[in-house]
């Protein structure tokens, strides 16, 4: 639970401690652990975590994200706020097991366990504007993050067309949730086992054919998918917002690691974004920058898979999920730096 929600008791009334040998560690970290209150596994690679943070649940807006640190040796990874529940005081993250950290979290983040750190909501909330008719597109892991946007547009009185892509029927999740906030809902699958057979761009085309008055398309997914979505809408001249996912560290505008090129200008995605006008985004640049740590990521995953590199000795570890570990190379998408996995095969042949 967030320490900020704790009562501000008056600690000065306590008897002053006279021993004051210098402590080597502060306990601030311990106080601010964040509890996982629910979990759901959508597939072997995709899981949902609901984390208690009443204050963040109140503050979160669609389009924002958090930075999570799993344990005391962990890295800071950005994850979109896929949902928030102000009554329950929780925020929901939907995570794709891509590399070491997200796999380790898949193994360790059980109900009742805690995250070492979580800060947010980060980034500028999405601009809802006065769009009357919108298409909300989610591909792969972008499916979950597009949901709060679709819901917000619906609440704002817009006509919402949802377009989501999955590889096949078994991987579909949140269909009911989407249907409850979408006026039209198009599922695209690679193999045609559910909805229309094709990519989300086919879904966008379909929506554009049926509606000539679309004000805005919002696309979230792997960069290659967002790029394709912007190419699809460009000839139709439809404003297209995308949510960029560069590599981040602090998420507070302090390091510049998350810089992206938008309309020829350098922007920091964590404070200026993550939403940008997709027609202005340099996706080639983004995709190159996502490759930045590929070698290290591979090394980390290999070491972890071998069971030698488990830095978090503190946790009693259940046996590693052998099956998933073996599948690692397929899900890594190393060459593209695209980590959302599910759509990957379908996008393999696309021109980058």
């Amino acid at each position: 639970m967030s320490a900020v929600t704790k009562k501000h008791g008056n600690r000065r009334a306590e008897k002053p401690g006279r021993d004051s040998a210098c402590p080597s560690k502060l306990d601030a970290d311990v106080e601010s652990r964040f509890e996982i209150v629910a979990r759901e596994d959508f597939s072997e690679l995709t899981y949902l975590l609901e984390v208690a943070h009443p204050m963040m649940a109140r503050a979160a807006r669609p389009g924002q994200f958090v930075i999570v640190i799993a344990h005391e040796h962990g890295e800071r990874i950005p994850l979109t706020i896929a949902d928030f529940d102000r009554e329950r005081g929780t925020i929901t993250l939907v995570i794709q097991a891509a590399g070491k950290t997200t796999r380790e979290m898949q193994r360790d983040c059980q109900v009742g366990s805690t995250l070492f750190g979580m800060v947010g909501p980060l980034g500028e909330p999405s601009q809802l504007g006065d769009a009357k008719k919108v298409v909300c597109v989610g591909g792969g892991l972008g499916v979950a993050p597009i949901f709060p946007q679709a819901r917000a547009f619906k609440e704002n009185g817009a006509y919402v067309i949802g377009v989501v892509g999955f590889r096949s029927k078994e991987l579909v999740f949140w269909e009911d949730k989407f249907r409850s906030v979408c006026d039209e809902f198009i599922i695209c699958s690679d193999d045609g086992s559910v909805g229309i057979k094709g990519l989300v761009t086919d879904g966008i085309e379909l929506a554009a054919e049926n509606h000539s008055d679309i004000d805005e398309v919002i696309a979230i997914g792997p960069p290659i998918m967002m790029k394709a979505a912007t190419e699809t809408t460009r000839p139709h001249n439809i404003k297209t917002m995308v949510s960029l996912n560069p590599i981040m560290v602090d998420g507070t505008g302090m390091c510049g690691g998350c810089r992206v090129l938008v309309g020829g200008e350098t922007k920091f995605a964590c404070v200026d974004g993550p939403d940008f006008d997709g027609h202005k985004v340099d996706f080639v640049d983004l995709m190159n920058r996502l490759k930045r740590f590929n070698e290290d990521e591979k090394l980390a995953l290999e070491r972890w898979s071998e069971g030698t590199g488990q830095a978090s000795a503190a946790k009693p570890a259940p046996p590693p999920p052998v099956e998933q570990v073996e599948r690692a190379p397929r899900a890594m998408d190393g060459d593209m730096g695209v980590h959302y996995g599910t759509l990957r095969s379908a996008w393999d042949n696309q021109d980058t």
């Binding site: 000065r12 021993d19 004051s20 560690k25 090129l261 404070v271 190159n288 980390a300 590199g309």
Partner: protein, 500 residues
């Protein structure tokens, strides 16, 4: 005691023991090891105890330098520390990181003939002694019921928090990162400022009852307006620093291998990337690392890169050593460690290896022209001097912009560069909201940030109607020998108390 003269004092500045360059480039332990007691006292002997001390004027916070040196010479270290900490809440830190040559030591009259008194080293020794001896016992503070929120846990926030807590306010510090300390933590590496020193100074503050809440980005989790209107804070201090790194805007800047010094330092100092993959954060250090800039940030980035195992680290700066803004000691240490300096050089393009990574830079040689606004001679490019500079990692340390988040999320008045606008008392355009440190002045120094935090604390006390003093109650009858930061336990303090 006969009056000391320049002839009677020890002539040579007492050298500070350091780790040998060959050893230290392979570790992150402190470079300057600190004086022993006799060395500190020997250096104290060099102080002429001037009746009108220039050093006090040279100090941004006006520490009574001859005062604490005199007490040290009398053997009363506890009193000496009380004198020092009257003006400086973070002596062990400032003794290590202040640019003394531009401040107290730069104006020390001993320096006219000999080398100036090593005030910083003495200060550090006394600060370390206080930590080791635990001269930090908590006085009993009479709560006045006022609640103050502090945004940012850098030196400005720490100083404001300490002073306000001592005045009896209930203080909460909010920090965006998962670990407090600001630049002290994520920027300045351990070989210059060990984490234990920061932890000790932070512990002094938490002992005053200050609560530090990490993982809390103010503006996003809640706004300043909410702090005042909904969360019950009677006043707020903003000390969010200036940490948004600048880039040059030259071609090739988004290649992999180009990063800011802040990113490099954060990955290493805050996230432990030096121990990847035991820690999860990678750095992917280059072999030939070029750091652009020659300030403290540049020096730190270079020396971190060296310690992590870069083959060669280069400093590329468009002016000369004389104009370099880094602390003198750091430049010397960097030179000793084998960093190669390329003065009067500037990159104009970063070149691709064909796979999206840095291969080299195209650089121009410069010469110095007329002085510019900063009083330093302006570097001018020499025509036709372009050449290729081999490097597989390029790190920018060319300054910072203000962090935009507070501006994005509040109605606070900012100046044209995006820094928070304040009046002379550091009050902002919002009632009860004060600001200080780098977010007001732009990137400056630890001691200035600390001084600003204390000044804002005075402003806040005045705003709340609390008497401006550092006096705190001690419960009757208890041993009051231990006072904190020079608190005078004997004086009575009448303070305004918030009615429930």
């Amino acid at each position: 005691m006969a009056k000391k003269t320049i002839r009677t004092i020890p002539q040579d500045r007492t050298p500070i023991p350091v780790q040998e360059p060959a050893d230290r480039v392979a570790n992150f332990a402190e470079v300057a090891l600190g004086y022993l007691e006799e060395q500190a006292l020997n250096e104290c002997e060099r102080c002429l105890l001037c009746p009108e001390p220039a050093c006090v004027k040279g100090c941004p916070v006006g520490i009574d330098i001859p005062g604490f040196i005199e007490r040290m010479l009398a053997g009363d270290f506890r009193e000496a520390y009380a004198t020092l900490s009257d003006d400086n809440l973070l002596p062990a830190i400032c003794g290590r990181v202040c640019p003394q040559e531009d401040q107290c030591e730069g104006v020390c009259p001993v320096g006219d003939t000999l080398e100036p008194v090593a005030i910083g080293r003495i200060e550090r020794w006394l600060g370390d002694m206080a930590i080791a001896e635990g001269w930090t016992a908590q006085p009993y503070l009479e709560p006045n019921g006022f609640r103050v929120g502090i945004i940012g846990s850098g030196p400005a926030g720490m100083a404001a928090a300490a002073d306000l807590a001592k005045a009896g306010c209930e203080v909460t510090v909010y920090e965006a990162l998962h670990s407090p300390g600001g630049v002290l933590r994520y920027g300045i590496p351990e070989f210059r400022l060990p984490n234990e020193v920061i932890d000790a100074e932070l512990a002094n503050i938490t002992k005053l009852g200050v609560k530090i809440e990490c993982n809390t980005l103010v503006g996003r989790l809640f706004t300043i307006e909410q702090m005042v209107e909904e969360m019950g804070f009677d006043a707020v201090f903003i000390g969010t620093g200036a940490g948004s790194p600048k880039f040059m805007g030259i071609p090739g800047e988004s290649l992999n291998g180009v990063l800011s010094a802040n990113e490099l330092l954060t990955r290493c100092n805050l996230m432990g990337a030096g121990d990847f993959p035991n820690n999860d954060t990678p750095l992917h250090l280059g072999k030939q690392v070029a750091i652009i800039g020659a300030g403290n940030t540049a020096m730190d980035a270079m020396r971190v890169a060296l310690r992590l195992g870069a083959d060669k680290v280069h400093c590329v700066y468009r002016r000369t050593e004389a104009e370099s803004p880094a602390r003198l000691e750091e430049i010397h240490h960097a030179q000793e460690e084998g960093i190669e300096f390329h003065w009067l050089t500037t990159p104009v393009e970063i070149l691709d290896d064909g796979a999206g990574n840095v291969r080299a830079m195209r650089c121009l040689r410069m010469e110095l022209g007329e002085p510019d606004d900063s009083g330093r001679r302006r570097p001018i490019a020499i025509d036709g001097s372009e050449y290729e500079f081999e490097a597989d990692m390029v790190v920018y340390a060319i300054g910072t912009n203000p962090n935009p988040i507070i501006g994005q999320t509040s109605k606070l008045k900012l100046n044209q560069w995006g820094y928070v606008e304040t009046d002379d008392d550091l009050a902002t355009s919002m009632a009860g909201v004060y600001a200080g440190g780098d977010i007001v002045t732009g990137a400056a120094t630890v001691i200035l940030a600390m001084g600003a935090g204390r000044k804002a604390a005075r402003g806040i006390k005045a705003y709340l109607g609390i008497r401006d003093s550092n006096v705190a109650y001690l419960p009757a009858g208890e041993d009051r020998g231990d006072s904190l930061f020079g608190i005078d336990a004997g004086e009575r303090n009448f303070t305004r108390v918030r009615l429930a």
